[in-house]
Symmetry: D3
Subunit: 187 residues, 6 copies
């Protein structure tokens, strides 16, 4: 099925609890693979942290205001999710750099940096029926646990940026599906 995308009008406070199978279906009626964007604060409690390294280091995953993306693909595993996630972060970096007119944003695995400042948090996980990705891009860079930059610092409107990213990711998914269907295997 083609990816379904949605930008939520209301603010949603991201607690990590949203990164679960069928959240997009149960909350917004999106049945199937989906990418949902929303704006809101980010404060992930340990029981919803998926990266064990974060848990062990007692990291705080916190931001006053972020542009969040929740992505779900059914019938896929963690391996694929991890590589999808990196493509998704590359798309965000590509879009930011194109807007800034200079390659200021570096992608390091699934993290985005401007110099030493961190722009994003992201995790890829898996349930029994789907793979799940959360990516959050700072809007505000105030009061964050580490030095950060946010869309506000670049004068980028979050909702407009969300639309660009969702469109680009939907295109990426469609072209990846097509690629899979038009390549001859190697004997």
């Amino acid at each position: 099925m083609p990816l379904k995308t949605l930008i939520v009008d209301e603010e949603v406070a991201y607690s990590g609890e949203q990164l679960r199978p069928h959240w997009a279906f149960q909350t917004f009626g999106l049945l199937g693979d989906s990418a949902v964007a929303f704006l809101g604060p980010c404060d992930v409690q340990p029981e919803h942290m998926r990266d064990i390294e974060d848990l062990m280091s007692a990291s705080r995953i916190y931001s006053e205001n972020m542009l969040h993306f929740i992505i779900e693909h059914f019938g896929e595993g963690l391996d694929l999710a991890v590589w999808r996630q990196r493509v998704f972060m590359a798309i965000i970096a590509e879009a930011l750099n194109a807007r800034l007119g200079r390659p200021a944003i570096r992608r390091v695995g699934s993290d985005l940096y401007d110099g030493e400042d961190k722009l994003s948090v992201s995790v890829a996980s898996v349930s029994l029926v789907s793979s799940l990705i959360h990516a959050g891009v700072n809007i505000s860079s105030r009061n964050t646990p580490v030095s950060t930059r946010g869309l506000e610092d670049y004068g980028i409107a979050a909702r407009d940026f969300a639309e660009e990213i969702l469109r680009a990711y939907a295109r990426e998914c469609e072209s990846a599906l097509k690629a899979r269907c038009k390549v001859r295997p190697v004997q």
Copy 2:
């Protein structure tokens, strides 16, 4: 196993025949997952074209001189290869833009462009034992079937660039493997 990387000293003319399982093992003794770079012309005959769209449109896959990468991952399928390939092309675009100091290079799926000029060819395929990716970045932009740009046009030394890309891809693979091993599933 960690990715094995190699830059071949001698020129190799890429005919498409190199995109086969165990080529890196049989030719260079690299056993396991590998990424091999080499320089040389590119002229893919129809029987070695893997993209059926290229075959059907009787495209010529030709370049006087390219920086080639052949990537092989054992025990992986086409789905994963297609997303790995996009990360790999993003790495190349990221490295080019960082060197140029401006976001000149756009990635569109698995293709790289500078404005309307094409910089690259790439295909991901699969055999019964491994996934296989070929990516070629033009060094020369002369006499190509479509309007292109090459590393020479940017004053970038191909071998040095190859080293940077292989290093970055090895790091990406290692961090992706680690990500898979430290994330809690969602119940």
Copy 3:
């Protein structure tokens, strides 16, 4: 991707050679999962027989005129194909019985019978990139190697019947995809 369906206007003689990956893409431009119907004779040569039992028994897979279906699903294996095939044959039986107004047609695995007369041939196979199903329903029942019945014997127009079957199978695929995306796993 949603299933793409097509009824070919011209007669096609089925030789078994059509049951190969990307046949629908290369012949009709259908990229992705597809179900193609066509009318024509059936004469499968041993080198294109996929069922080894047929090969060993030197069976002749022959019919003067059949309604053929070629189904391809990318990224799927033989196990799933075998069960898809049975659903497909059940759909044909259900449609025939509904038209006949009596449950005359029995499905036995992937075969259809009316009493002792055979109505169909079918095989499910797999390539490295896709699963493939051929199903042929006799139009004519003349000169077949075993006692058969055909759509003509029931006064059923093949092209109209093909449309009904393709529509029903597309609906089945869509509802199966949805089912997969709305079920909670069992812990």
Copy 4:
């Protein structure tokens, strides 16, 4: 392993809690793939509903008396379960129509209808070790949340019908396994 089948002598009230891995092993000692039939009422509480659409619509899954089937296949995923489930429902429809002597029962995905009356409930789900299918066929059609028909309305003895269905499904599983082992792949 060949499918193990059982008809339980005692009435069992189906609450949805029975649809879990190893239920047949823990309750009846059936180790491996199994299909178990029993008679009893059906009243599925929300915490055991697997179809999120049912949960969201606050459907009541209720029947005074049903013929239930619980099917478990180890080492299989949800995709395959969804198609197995449809074959299973087709088998029930085929058997009913054969007994009725007219094609009264229509299968729509995993649901069975006689005109507008619903005959069945069914869901396919998955655990980490197995796929699980519940199918319930109304015996009684009294006091159901929607208009239904049941085996009693057709004068069909439930236990005898259960035997026929289990036998047919075991045969289907065996022939599907054989099909997988005698087909040549397509190069």
Copy 5:
């Protein structure tokens, strides 16, 4: 990634709770595939028993002192784990027999025996991200629920034996990975 191995210096009482994903990472910082050995008593409570047969028979899984191994492989399923487990038990039997100079130890599936005396307990299970194996070899044979033998009875030092086994299993894993990368498929 190559297997990471560790012998824990402190005694660990095995309760079954240790057989969970990321235990080696969270407890010892071993990220990735790992095999960890430790010494200590064994007393598995029903809620941590993984073998349902043990649960149903109310078996006690108890030993005063055992050499324990916890093995985790990411991205692998139960089928592979079951065969890995048998190779692991074969390694232990091979090492014991080599030390004893006579083939006293028989492997029966995943159990080790000396005559009628049981030497070991073992279970292979699976989580959503990894496969998990526990193997325990008796050090003491006192006060066990069935007649047993232990490393003490053979005068074998447990820590030294643990080192031999971990080394052998790491070698086995490495050679199995290599085997997978150097074999031509059969067309």
Copy 6:
């Protein structure tokens, strides 16, 4: 399906050509997973060598007389085949040592040794529909390319030994299948 086993009465010269899908079905009518034993010389031509290391080193895989086993498991991949193969070789070593009354035979991965003398050849490979294992145990140790030992040197009757090994492997497969069906996953 349970493993089907057979000892061929006639001598068969093993050329490597027998290691292909459906060989047991086409030659002996064994449909499904199978293990077939036969006696005969071994001379594998390069085109049938599956281990690329053997091909590259121009090894000769030769023996005047061997006890051969061809094992096929449908629907399984190379990873599992490699670990199955090691269990199979462990079974042979265990049986030999039990007969010899001393642990003379060492298993190193998929090879068996008595001191420096090699007893066996083995390879695991994969086709699109099945995994395939060949194991050959020397009967004669004369005229082999490297120093070997054979069953004759130990006074072991090959046919009787073949029966023991096939029985043990069938038991191993059955108990592995059962293990998979009675273990609770780890949440």
